[in-house]
């Protein structure tokens, strides 16, 4: 077994990296609102980064374990208690069957992740275990957790190598002010110069209309040249829609796949965790950056995650490679570089094609 939900909290869902490949059919990708914290939790417990874990919102759940497993809690600080004693965040911990994990109200941030070694056992739907609450798909019957729910572990563990090192620092930002860096467009030309100045110069408040679909902001009206309507086009996570009202809406994990409102800018991918951890009342300022800078910031974030993953989870040097049987033969030097060999590997139900080539010996 795994965990029994004694108290579901406000909005607790099973998430994984997201459901990709079905947007052209109208399926929202879903996935975690703060993917960085989510992936850190999985790395800490030795999982592939996008494996199924829990996302809790504002007020967390109380979970009773019916089987031993190693867990890690990351993201917003819900002051977790394990059997009534404070549980350190951002650290792998062995939890024994019968123990109770209680997450409380978030002291900072908005969303907290609980990863379990081996992941959570809910059915794969279109290649993903992520819950889409709006689409009623994935996770536990396409809905948030409810009292009495039971979720099994896929492959629980009672020990992991380097257990003492499985901790990191990942604090939530202090204060209420946040800067979101954006790429302008694709419909920035639908706004007057004054409208663009307002958007980039004025503060916006996060309202209570903030869910997994999107975040409505309140502040000075952004002036259109005509109005906020376009022929509906495709959407990405982080798109900032400005309908004719002139007030921006940031589209998030469970956004619709198409939209008919002007999009003034898009939050860069590296800053999506920032908006994912905002709380109603926080104040946002937008800053325009070039695409090249956004790519650099994304690369730096991936490098940090890779470093943590390799430090904790790289196979020990004496371990035998598990794919030894499929290793290509060694080619004589005269044939360098060697022929390209293609392999299909299946990870989390997704099929990847990978190619390898001997380039030096």
């Amino acid at each position: 077994m795994g965990i029994v939900v004694e108290n579901p909290g406000v909005l607790t869902t099973v998430q994984d990296g997201g459901r990709y490949g079905y947007e052209q059919f109208g399926v929202s990708p879903s996935g975690p609102m703060d993917k960085e914290s989510f992936q850190i939790a999985n790395i800490l417990v030795g999982n592939p980064r996008d494996l199924s874990a829990l996302e809790a919102t504002m007020l967390g759940p109380t979970l009773r374990f019916t089987q031993d497993n190693i867990i890690a809690v990351t993201g917003g600080d819900m002051m977790p208690l394990l059997d009534e004693k404070p549980l350190p965040m951002n650290q792998a911990v062995l939890v024994k069957a019968g123990s109770v994990l209680k997450l409380r109200a978030a002291r900072n941030g908005c969303r907290t992740y609980v990863a379990f070694a081996g992941g959570l056992d809910v059915p794969l739907v279109m290649g993903s275990r992520a819950t889409g609450v709006q689409n009623k798909v994935g996770g536990l019957e396409g809905r948030k957790l409810a009292k009495g729910d039971e979720i099994g572990f896929l492959a629980p563990k009672t020990s992991l190598p380097r257990m003492a090192e499985r901790r990191t620092d990942h604090p939530m930002p202090a204060g209420k002010e946040r800067v979101l860096r954006v790429i302008l467009g694709p419909q920035d030309d639908a706004f007057t110069p004054q409208g663009m100045d307002t958007f980039l110069g004025q503060p916006y408040n996060v309202t209570n209309d903030f869910d997994r679909m999107g975040c409505r902001l309140d502040g000075p009206v952004i002036q259109h040249k005509v109005d906020g309507n376009i022929i509906s086009d495709g959407m990405v996570t982080g798109a900032i829609q400005v309908p004719t009202s002139g007030l921006p809406i940031i589209m998030l994990a469970e956004r619709q796949t198409v939209g008919g409102y002007t999009k003034i800018a898009t939050v860069i991918t590296a800053d999506l965790p920032v908006i994912g951890q905002c709380r109603p009342g926080d104040v946002i300022r937008f800053q325009s950056v070039p695409v090249s800078q956004a790519h650099q910031l994304w690369r730096e974030m991936q490098n940090r995650l890779n470093t943590l993953d390799q430090t904790l989870n790289a196979p020990a040097p004496q371990a035998q490679p598990s794919v030894q049987a499929h290793q290509p033969p060694v080619y004589p030097e005269t044939t360098l570089p060697g022929p390209v060999r293609r392999y299909r590997i299946t990870v989390n139900g997704k099929v990847y094609e990978t190619s390898i080539q001997v380039v030096s010996q």
């Binding site: 059919f25 109208g26 739907v125 467009g185 990405v236 796949t257 991918t269 695409v291 994304w298």
Partner: protein, 240 residues
């Protein structure tokens, strides 16, 4: 010819003419096919809409210059004649009683009999411009406005999945229960989205649908087959 925009740091948007027409939409479908066939490294999902294509990419593995060049070449050599023959999917529709809540009102607004309204709705194919809003939800239209009415004055809070709703030249299949302000002309027993299936989606952008009137007995029979998962929608290649 086309304009290219960044959509954040992991997607591009290719826009064709700013209009809703099959000519423009077929360019979108053709460019999508051309890019899919090239299988460039680091390219993610392609999302076609009325007049534009969103192209997701992974900045760590995609070569953005190569992608932009492929888009440019793709647009320059767009070959609409090479598009495969369009598929028409038949949508059985029961236009009756509680399954066609607004049929009577539609007939009254249009000054026609219910039989005439049914004949008008089922005589022409509708083109599927794109899917969106909800999983499997098609945006479909034909090229004249058979009806004069738009939305209802007050939207309904919830209409059942399977409802066929219309306004002007548009006709949509509602996949799941949802709020809706359109008039309900009938109900189909088949599912626009069935998560039990390997490919859950009935339709795809660039295809066509044709509504076929069925009676209550046929409706219930198809509904049973759909529930058992053994119903095969009728499809055929579009003429001409």
């Amino acid at each position: 010819m086309y304009t290219l925009h960044d959509v954040g740091d992991q997607a591009l948007l290719v826009e064709f003419e700013n209009e809703i027409s099959m000519e423009v939409n077929r360019k979108v479908v053709a460019l999508k096919r051309a890019l899919e066939e090239q299988r460039l490294p680091g390219i993610g999902e392609l999302i076609p809409t009325y007049r534009s294509l969103v192209i997701h990419y992974d900045p760590l593995t995609a070569d953005l210059d190569q992608l932009k060049e492929a888009i440019d070449q793709g647009v320059k050599h767009l070959d609409l004649s090479s598009l495969p023959k369009s598929i028409v999917t038949e949508i059985p529709v029961l236009y009756e009683g509680e399954y066609a809540l607004d049929l009577e009102e539609i007939a009254r607004i249009e000054g026609k009999t219910e039989e005439e309204i049914i004949r008008i709705h089922s005589q022409s194919d509708y083109y599927v411009y794109m899917l969106g809003f909800a999983p499997g939800h098609p945006y479909t239209a034909r090229f004249e406005n058979p009806f004069s009415f738009k939305r209802r004055e007050t939207p309904r809070v919830r209409i059942p999945g399977g409802s066929i709703v219309v306004q002007l030249g548009l006709s949509d299949i509602i996949p799941f229960d949802q709020p809706c302000g359109w008039n309900i002309i009938g109900t189909t027993p088949i599912l626009a989205c069935d998560y039990r299936k390997k490919n859950p989606f009935l339709l795809k952008a660039g295809q066509w649908i044709h509504h076929v009137p069925v009676d209550k007995a046929e409706f219930m029979d198809i509904k049973r087959q759909v529930e058992l998962g053994c119903y095969q929608p009728k499809t055929y290649e579009k003429e001409g």
